[in-house]
Symmetry: C2
């Protein structure tokens, strides 16, 4: 149970956690915080938060748990603003999509409460953003990864695990570096590829034809290119090393395919596609 | 109305056309043809065809319309086998995903009835294949492109347009070269990219982690990597020129992204993602 929860950044991710915990009866009071009073007013009107403040220091003052759900590029500034204003024993956790950089930001800025900081990442979301897109079931049966450091207080980590479980998620723990590598491959790289495909086709003279005849495969492939540009800019910069590694491996795959097509290498193409189909078919989703 | 329709290759594409036309009352009799008696037997058992033959020359003998729905690599051999066995005035059309190469195959092999050949491509399908996956609604409100040549008999082309309309599709006509370029971008390239991503992640030591934590974006992005490997091998070889052009443009996009990430160029990344999102958001699908 959480008496008072503070959500910094009440969008799809932050808003959905508030809604899920409220519905589960797991928290009494939610205060929203962020830069835009207008957007916080919307969260209030939607019943996602009970009150709000654009003054982060004030917003966290009585909170038992603070969930930071802002774009990665804003994490350091948020930690700096709340440091020294948290109540003793308050837990801070986040929802950032890359973990090594958030841990660095927390270490540098959360001086008084770094051991109370539990790095986390709910693997959930849609291509939509903003509090209007938030819903209580977002985390149901989804995975949340926490990446505690050696300094992380174990009780704080356990409390964050319980919180996500109350929201319906399954929680796992791993090293931040491993998390960043896995997410680079399964999420960050696919987003890059989708953004790249849309621009590749649209910058072309035939863009109208392209979209007129686009079928289901194209639709599914590019859906994620509607995702929030600021969030993805920040993810690329925050998970730079792992993402560049993944991108390099992927570029090598495209070179292999290009070679095989150029050489009319039917056997190579067939075995390449067979192996991909076999791998993909293992997943019933 | 078609008295007797012959479907060569009774899989998802061929089987669904038979089912749609039968349901629309647009054809009296359907004969299936192909290499595998076992698979044709299945089509018969499912009620998709009324009879079948593995002898293509016999199967087409009385047919008014012959629909060739085999992988691109088998087109030339099929045309060769049916040439000289068609009844006078019979119309031949196909469902191949690239059109320039099918036209070449038809020109070289359909000597007696080349003017009765109408190149076509229904832009429909799922990642599934085989007659078990066929369904009558596959073409409903989907586009079919026909790419008649200067030699194509106009009445034959009109008959093919009417047939697809009876199956529920919207039909458009364009030059084969334009078709191939548009499809390379909207379908063939996305499939390559999806096959490439699955192999990129699965050949890696961390493949188990990758799939354990894969979320919705990854699922949608890689769904098409479950598509039929033989069909895609043939498409790559048949639409080689246009596909290599598209792939080259795409590789340049990835280089741009790699540069921007390497240089921490936040502005470039943001404007890149914004432009992709803007383009993608125009499509309400």
């Amino acid at each position: 149970m959480i008496k008072k929860l503070c959500i910094i950044g009440v969008g799809l991710i932050g808003g959905s956690l508030a809604m899920a915990l409220r519905r589960a009866g797991y928290c009494n009071e939610v205060i929203g915080a962020g830069r835009s009073a207008e957007r916080l007013q919307k969260a209030l009107a939607l019943g996602v938060v009970d009150s709000f403040s654009t003054d982060l220091a004030k917003a966290v003052a009585d909170a038992d748990v603070v969930f930071v759900a802002v774009p990665m590029g804003a994490m350091a500034a948020v930690f700096k603003q709340i440091d020294g204003h948290l109540k003793p024993g308050a837990i801070v956790t986040d929802g950032g999509s890359a973990k090594v950089s958030v841990i660095e930001d927390a270490k540098a800025n959360l001086q008084q409460s770094y051991s109370q900081f539990v790095p986390g990442h709910p693997i959930a979301g849609t291509e939509k953003s903003g509090v209007e897109a938030a819903f209580a079931e977002l985390y149901k049966n989804r995975r949340v990864i926490i990446t505690p450091t050696k300094k992380t207080n174990e009780l704080a980590a356990n409390a964050v695990v319980s919180m996500w479980q109350a929201a319906g998620a399954e929680v796992e723990s791993m090293a931040a570096e491993h998390h960043d590598m896995v997410l680079a491959g399964t999420s960050h790289l696919p987003h890059l590829l989708a953004f790249g495909l849309v621009n590749c086709l649209f910058e072309n003279n035939n863009s109208e034809s392209y979209f007129r005849y686009a079928a289901g495969g194209f639709r599914d492939f590019t859906r994620i290119a509607s995702s929030d540009p600021v969030m993805w800019r920040d993810i690329c910069l925050s998970n730079k090393t792992a993402l560049l590694d993944s991108l390099g491996l992927y570029q090598a795959e495209l070179e292999r395919l290009k070679d095989a097509i150029t050489k009319d290498d039917a056997d190579q193409l067939l075995s390449y596609f067979q192996s991909a189909k076999e791998s993909r078919d293992k997943f019933n989703f």
